[in-house]
């Protein structure tokens, strides 16, 4: 549309990078400066994103980062920015939620001695996340993919002196790397097969048809990246631990944006999975559904407020991945439900985390919900915003979550009824554990001394809560889905019925899905009310008996992986080390040098010092020479 204004996209990307670099180089020890730089940068990015969004700018702009033409298909790595509906929407989400959280951090991190480092990390994250959003080719995507990974690493380990935080950051990074391994292989394979990494060109070439096994393999490998980043089973273990980071970080990175990057990426490169005959979508759908269920089950028995939210995030990410998989199962479909849910989820999950942060701050870093209670009166703003977000998460109309979740359920109904059942079960569990949290922490009686001194957080923290409440509640009426459909199917998504029409549309469109989801959610609330409204201790372990333990212990995944790593990688490493020490370094190298020295020591015994020995040996040598040379 506006060719020149596509360059504006750089203005989204560069301020956070500048802020990160500037803080690192100049303002690491100046909290106020660093905060201003960082917040200014994200606000600037938000402003530009808003302009891009409202102007409807589309197109691409690129800067060649690396380019080698070896005759075998040029290897071009461009930092290419692509502006379209998908990226513009995501830009808004990232910069919008990001801005709010940046400002919130100002209050939350007040008084910490490393604020500069914090904001540097946050800005670096913003930059790389925006890079993922804008990327128009796989290599740039991968670069930013790695960079969000590392900023997540730095921020989880922000309080590096706490062993738990340090371990969690390491775990997060390594687990992500496992996914990235597959991702990178997928990218290389794509390049080797099609000679390009550009999304648009790849879409064309894949569309032209390939060998049958290639899309499945590539699709699965690419999906590995999403499994890592979006914490899907079996690489989901890092996300709950990542809650060791500061709460705003959890809100921004581990709830709203970065973990959603996996889903965004799947939508962005949907053409890879949409190739006919690919087996990838089934796997994706089942992995997503499985993760959703698994995480929801675990969340039921968690007691740490942030961990509950973390498992909830996992579960919702599972939903989105499920949606992508479902979309890919039939030809010509589009992953709009996944993106839709991503958008609304970003708002209400960020809100939930910020609310949790507010509680944690008020309780002086108490995170156990069984030591809270009665907070609704003491922290009204926090409570009401939290409740709104919870309702959105549970999918109660007319909150935003209802619409996006319903879109997924409808899709499941269309494609794979078994998965619909699974999704509905997750919806039930979701509202159950969320209202368990609400009742135990906010409504029920105080369970310790901690809540007695709780006071509402300052405005710098509550204002962001209020700001985020707006989209959490009403985003369902903004026509996000039709805006997105416009991306995948230009010209199809323009019809926008009125408010009421939008509210009832799900029930017309796929009544079974809509009603079952709604009923499940309500049932969950009722169950939670019955079980938890007045308890000071969790009754569930008593009720479920032995079944509750695996839930509480997260199905023993950490233990299992610990063993697995100990058995495989550590054994390998120990073996390699032993071989290095004893076989190569010892037997071969030392053996060679030792045996040579031994030869020397033996040989020089000939030097007896007696001249007659020498003469004799000489004569012997002479005789040998004569016999050898003349054959006598």
């Amino acid at each position: 549309m506006h060719a020149a204004s596509t360059h504006l996209a750089w203005l989204v990307l560069l301020p956070p990078l500048g802020a990160a670099a500037g803080i690192t180089l100049l303002a690491l020890n100046r909290p106020a400066v660093s905060a201003r730089l960082s917040i200014g940068a994200i606000l600037a990015a938000f402003g530009v994103s808003l302009v891009l969004f409202t102007q409807g700018v589309e197109g691409r702009t690129a800067w060649t980062w690396l380019s080698i033409d070896d005759g075998r298909g040029t290897f071009v790595a461009e930092l290419g920015l692509r502006l379209d509906h998908l990226s513009c929407l995501m830009l808004l989400v990232v910069t919008g939620v990001g801005s709010v959280i940046h400002i919130y951090s100002l209050g939350y991190m007040r008084g910490d001695r490393s604020v500069g480092r914090y904001f540097a990390g946050l800005s670096l994250f913003s930059f790389s996340m925006l890079g993922i959003v804008l990327a128009d080719n796989f290599l740039m995507l991968f670069i930013c993919w790695e960079l969000v990974g590392v900023s997540s690493y730095l921020l989880i380990g922000f309080w590096f002196e706490r062993p738990a935080a340090a371990d969690a950051s390491k775990k997060a990074f390594l687990t992500n790397r496992l996914g990235d391994f597959g991702f990178l292989l997928g990218i290389i394979l794509l390049w080797a097969a099609f000679g390009t990494l550009d999304f648009a060109e790849l879409e064309q070439r894949i569309g032209a048809g390939t060998t049958p096994w290639l899309p499945s393999l590539v699709g699965l490998l690419i999906f590995c990246g999403a499994v890592g980043k979006s914490a899907q089973f079996p690489l989901h273990v890092w996300l709950p631990d990542a809650m060791e980071g500061p709460t705003p970080v959890s809100a921004l990175i581990h709830a709203a944006t970065m973990v959603a990057a996996g889903v965004y990426m799947l939508c962005r490169v949907f053409f890879v999975f949409a190739a006919p005959g690919s087996a990838a979508p089934d796997v994706i759908a089942w992995v997503g559904g499985g993760t959703a269920l698994l995480a929801a089950l675990i969340a039921v028995q968690q007691n740490d407020i942030k961990r509950i939210l973390a498992y909830s995030t996992l579960s919702q990410l599972g939903y989105m991945v499920l949606a992508v998989g479902l979309a890919g199962m039939a030809a010509g479909a589009h992953p709009v439900p996944a993106m839709y849910h991503l958008t609304t989820h970003a708002c209400f999950k960020a809100l939930l985390f910020l609310g949790a942060g507010s509680v944690i701050c008020a309780l002086r870093h108490e995170q156990d919900i069984w030591r809270m209670g009665g907070l609704a009166r003491r922290m009204p703003i926090t409570f009401w915003t939290f409740l709104a977000a919870t309702l959105a998460l549970c999918g109660i109309p007319p909150f935003s979550g209802f619409f996006s979740k319903d879109a997924i359920l409808a899709l499941a109904w269309e494609r794979q009824p078994v998965l619909l059942g699974l999704a509905v079960a997750v919806a039930f569990l979701t509202s159950f554990y969320m209202f368990r949290l609400v009742w135990v922490a906010f409504l029920g009686p105080a369970k310790s001394q901690a809540p007695d001194h709780a006071r509402e957080s300052p405005a710098v923290m509550t204002l962001p809560l209020l700001v985020l409440t707006v989209p959490s509640v009403v985003a369902g009426f903004w026509g996000i889905d039709s805006y997105l459909i416009e991306h995948f199917r230009p010209g199809e998504g323009l019809s926008a019925p009125g408010w009421l029409g939008q509210l009832t549309a799900p029930f017309h469109h796929a009544p079974v899905a809509a009603f079952s989801g709604l009923i499940a959610a309500l049932l969950g609330i009722v169950f939670a009310w019955r079980l938890y409204s007045h308890r000071v201790q969790d009754p569930l372990p008593g009720l479920l008996d032995a079944a509750a333990r695996p839930l509480r212990d997260k199905f023993y995944f950490d233990e299992f992986y610990g063993r697995l790593i100990a058995w495989t990688q550590d054994t390998l490493a120990r073996g390699a080390d032993a071989v290095d020490r004893w076989v190569i370094g010892g037997a071969l190298v030392k053996g060679a040098s030792g045996s040579i020295e031994l030869c020397g020591r033996l040989l020089r015994l000939v030097q007896t010092g007696s001249l007659q020995t020498y003469a004799f040996l000489f004569v012997l040598g002479a005789v040998v020479a004569i016999v050898l040379m003349l054959g006598w």
Binding site: I68, P163, K170, R177, T210, L214
Partner: protein
Amino acid sequence: MDSLTFIIFCPLIGAVLIALIPRSFEVLFRGITLGATGLSLAGALWIFSEFELGTARIQYEELVPWVYSLGINYHLGVDGLNVGLLLMGALVAFAATCVSSEIRERQKEFYLLLLLMTGGILGAFASLDLFFFYFFHELALVPTFIMIGVWGRGANRREAAFTITLYLSLGALIALVGLVALYLETGAHTFDVVAMTRHVAAHPVSESAQNIIFPLLMIGFGILVSLWPFHTWAPLGYGAAPTATAMLHAGVIKKFGLYGLLRIAVPLLPEGAQRWVGLLAVLCLGNLVYCGLVAMRQKNFGLLIANSSVAHMGFAFLGIASLSLIGVTGAVVVMIAHGLLAALTFGLGGYLHQRLGTLEMAQMGGLLRRLPFVGGVLIMAMLAGCGLPGFANFPGEILVLFGAFIRHPVIVSLAAWAGLIIGAVYALRAVRVMLHGELPQRRHDTPDAANAWRKLPYALLLAALVVFGCFPRLLTDRIVASAQQAIASVQGSSVAEIQHADDRLFGGSEPTKASIGQRGAFYAGQEGIAAGRSRRQSGCSIRLTGNAAHE
């Protein structure tokens, strides 16, 4: 004096100066060394920036006949392959001088040897004559030995010094035999690489000779680069070496073997290369995976980074083994990036050793609180080491992986595993154990790098890593044309092989075949141009058409 001679002789003249100045003027030694390496660095920077892009021509050429009867010339020059290496070498040398303020005794000898090493390795990179190439490299051998013995650390430094010296001499001598055999086999009666290359283009070395000389060079140079299983000298030696020596050796001198493979072995022995790179690729896994695993088990930070530096060499080998333009370019980038990175990590290791008196990781913890600068740089170095974008290693490793995939898909997969996961495991473990966690009581007074002068070497190296990482075209634009020339002779025969590999990978479906067919046609065109040049290559194009007929 011409610019390259200037770069090489600055350190050597500095060394002579130091030798002549009496011991009592202790202040001067460091100053002279800083000045000499600084001048070299300035010269290298100048050449790097003035370097004309897009051509494989030798620039800044200097040629002085040296030994007529053997055809040895004092022949210097830069092209894309070595211009970056030269800059990297000068930079590392300067940084190594900066960190050497830890040396308190026998400064005269120390700086003299340091300058000797520097001059030698810069000379080796700038030389275009086999003899001088080898000659300059060997200048570093004795200084390394003495430095480890006198200023080294650890109880086993004696064993380390002898092991490294013997191992490196073995490698160098095997390579020397290869080089002499090459000289004799080409029949060009010259050691001048440029003249030899020209001669070989017209009269290729017989295939049987290539098949013998290439492995000689591969093993010989491989030992110098710590190719698995000839790598054990490296951790041992670097663990015991003083900081500056380890920086120069692991960073710069080690790249000599790789450079030799690229400059000499591959272009002059294309058929030998074709035949042997398979083995090279397998061995490089030994570096990447095996040494990575070994690094995971290390409890001493010095040994950890030493093993990791060995492991990283695998990428460079893999790039060379790809025999593709992308892979070879990547290998050169990896060489430069790893040089900077190794120097940085060894420099930081030296700093920690100086401050803490030990590098046992169990005795550290939480140091980031006390050492925000050094710790921060160390974290970045470790992240750079596991291939994080933004640092120069990333573009190099990516290029290598992409470039090598068609020829060695399985090996690339394993290499990616090693680079992404094993590398991250030990790097992050080191950060976790040393910098994160609680600070032990007795470490409460550990000082950070106090002033700008102390920070300079680390900042310089890190900045170079970041600049090349963010703007890799600074390197690749210089490298590509020369890399193309280096593998031009191989590519003729490799077209058919790649075609074959392509079919193996994607064979079957029509469209893919069609696209490859197009590429094949492209090659055929290239082939046509080159066909007249030599019989060997036309033989290849026959193979190519045969392949097509088979399909």
